[in-house]
């Protein structure tokens, strides 16, 4: 059985919509990877996320998670356990009135025995660093903390893949940092496969691989360095590029000899120092 999420020739049309939201998408997400999906509004990236855990079923083509076809309704719960999903609005995905009860919600649905749930909840709260908030009502938490509760709720289901649909879009810069650090840790320390949908380019830079979508198509795929060096192409479809990359691009335009794949401030410093 293949340990991967595989999309083959996937098309998806919303009911009553005239056009396909996704057109002939082929993708492979390997276990252990950290993949970022970027694209302008309406490019189909959220739709794609919902196809990965069986919330949507492809109109054409197929999606398999570890070899399980999402079109087969018997697989649906297994797939959702394997591929957990974190949504944009933290308020709208927390079910319970106490943090630890909410984290327990997923495992409870899976029919896990009580002592095992307790163990998983403690462990999940440890991973997202919210141990001290276990007994708090979620509405007293900050946005970043709430989103980490939502992530803990997914971790407690022990998924291999975690799909995040713009988890930082509604957060302030502090909350955004909290969540992204948690995501990175999940990938590097817990070995979870991450699919991060985002429109913050600084977040996409952290990934192993970036997928660019536009108007329902996957138009580019590659390492952050490869992708962000194509500044003009990204700008043409209405995407931003990381600030430092933009700066490097402009400096090159002014005749400075600078690499075109600068992604972080440290790299920028390295490039600029010899020029001084």
């Amino acid at each position: 059985m293949a340990a991967e999420i595989l999309a083959e020739g996937v098309c998806y049309r919303y009911s009553q919509a005239p056009d396909m939201a996704l057109k002939d998408v082929d993708l492979r997400i390997r276990k252990g990877e950290f993949v970022a999906i970027i694209g302008p509004n309406g490019s189909g990236k959220s739709t794609l996320a919902k196809l990965f855990n069986g919330l949507f079923v492809p109109t054409k083509g197929k999606v398999t998670v570890d070899g399980l076809d999402t079109r087969d309704r018997d697989n649906v719960w297994k797939i959702r356990q394997k591929a957990g999903m974190v949504f944009q609005n933290p308020d709208n995905q927390i079910v319970a009135t106490v943090v630890e009860e909410d984290v327990a919600f997923g495992p409870e649905n899976l029919g896990v025995p009580p002592e095992e749930i307790r163990r998983r909840v403690d462990e999940a709260l440890e991973i997202v660093e919210l141990k001290d908030f276990a007994q708090k009502p979620p509405h007293l938490l900050s946005g970043g903390q709430k989103q980490r509760v939502a992530i803990a709720g997914i971790i407690a289901m022990r998924p291999d893949y975690i799909i995040m649909d713009e988890p930082t879009a509604m957060l302030d810069p502090v909350g955004r940092k909290e969540v992204i650090n948690t995501v990175k840790r999940l990938n590097r320390e817990e070995g979870k496969t991450i699919v991060l949908i985002t429109h913050f380019m600084e977040e996409a830079v952290e990934a192993d691989r970036v997928i660019v979508m536009s108007e329902g198509y996957v138009i580019m795929e590659g390492s952050p360095r490869e992708i962000f060096s194509k500044v003009d192409k990204l700008k043409a479809i209405g995407l931003d590029i990381p600030q430092v990359t933009e700066l490097a691009h402009r400096l090159r335009g002014r005749g400075l000899t600078i690499r075109n794949d600068v992604l972080t401030i440290d790299e920028m410093v390295e490039c600029l120092c010899p020029l001084l």
Binding site: N53, L55, T97, E100, A104, F105, N109, P114, G153
Partner: protein, 265 residues
């Protein structure tokens, strides 16, 4: 707005707080029934002592108990006055066409005492049990009836979600109100009809947002494998301890006392 409390639960760790919610619900129910068994003043000694001991054990100040009575003062007074004037018997005092009778006075006081005990008894339940624990208790008690079509789990889930979203929607109301006030909306002047009309620009966005939230939440619950109450386990299972048994025994004595006062004396 952020610190609203739901219900009148007062957190604590007393014996009464620790009791299983099912125990408390059942005992409160028994207590209410027993109040109606009693038919003379002497009988009230039992529930009075019972409630007094329970209140002392709960360490909740009398202040909160009395607060529970406040909204019902009118009903209590009305009960008293109606009984006072309506019951025929030996007249003790006459005001114009109305007469106060000995029987009326007796019956009025009797009814008021019953009402007060009823209210204090039930508020002791809600004061010492958090809404969420109460919900768990109700779900567990209704479970045997789910075979005859009582949607026990669904009711409990609805209660939980309602409790979860009350603060969120309050916050949202506050936000919309401020946004509309910044645009010149007026929520505080005019007569009742005018004020109700002014609520429309508040309620429409609130409802739209609530429906959107419901849609989001449903999707989030589904992707966390929620499929109703079947095969679902709970992290915290309700467990009865020796304290619960003790509470039931105490209630047994209360029942014995009340029944004896009615049928033996």
């Amino acid at each position: 707005m952020r610190e609203i409390t739901i219900g009148q639960y007062i957190p604590g760790n007393s014996v009464i707080h620790r009791l299983d919610p099912r125990t408390k619900i059942l005992i409160t129910f028994a207590f209410m029934v027993l109040l109606f068994v009693i038919d003379d003043f002497a009988g009230y000694a039992f529930p009075l002592i019972f409630i007094l001991v329970a209140s002392l054990l709960s360490r909740i100040s009398i202040k909160y108990m009395v607060r529970g009575l406040r909204p019902l003062v009118i009903i209590i007074l009305l009960t008293f006055v109606l009984n006072l004037f309506m019951i025929k018997g030996r007249v003790i005092y006459e005001i114009g066409p109305f007469s106060i009778t000995y029987e009326g006075l007796y019956q009025g006081t009797f009814m008021v005492l019953r009402l007060v005990l009823l209210i204090v008894g039930t508020s002791l339940l809600t004061l010492t049990t958090s809404p969420i624990t109460l919900t768990d208790g109700i779900e567990s008690l209704l479970k045997p009836f789910s075979k005859v079509g009582v949607p026990a789990h669904e009711l409990a889930m609805m209660m939980t979600i309602a409790l979860r979203f009350i603060p969120t929607l309050m916050e949202e109301t506050d936000k919309i109100m401020k946004a509309q006030m910044a645009r010149g909306a007026d929520f505080s002047s005019g007569n009742i009809v005018k004020r109700a009309q002014n609520m429309v620009p508040l309620l429409v966005p609130l409802f739209i947002s609530a429906f959107r939230r419901a849609d989001d939440l449903a999707m989030a619950m589904e992707s966390r494998c929620y499929r109703g109450g079947e095969n679902r386990t709970r992290m915290k299972t309700l467990k009865m301890t020796h304290e619960d048994i003790f509470a039931f025994v105490a209630t047994g004595f209360l029942a014995a006392g009340c029944l004896a006062s009615r049928f033996l004396w």
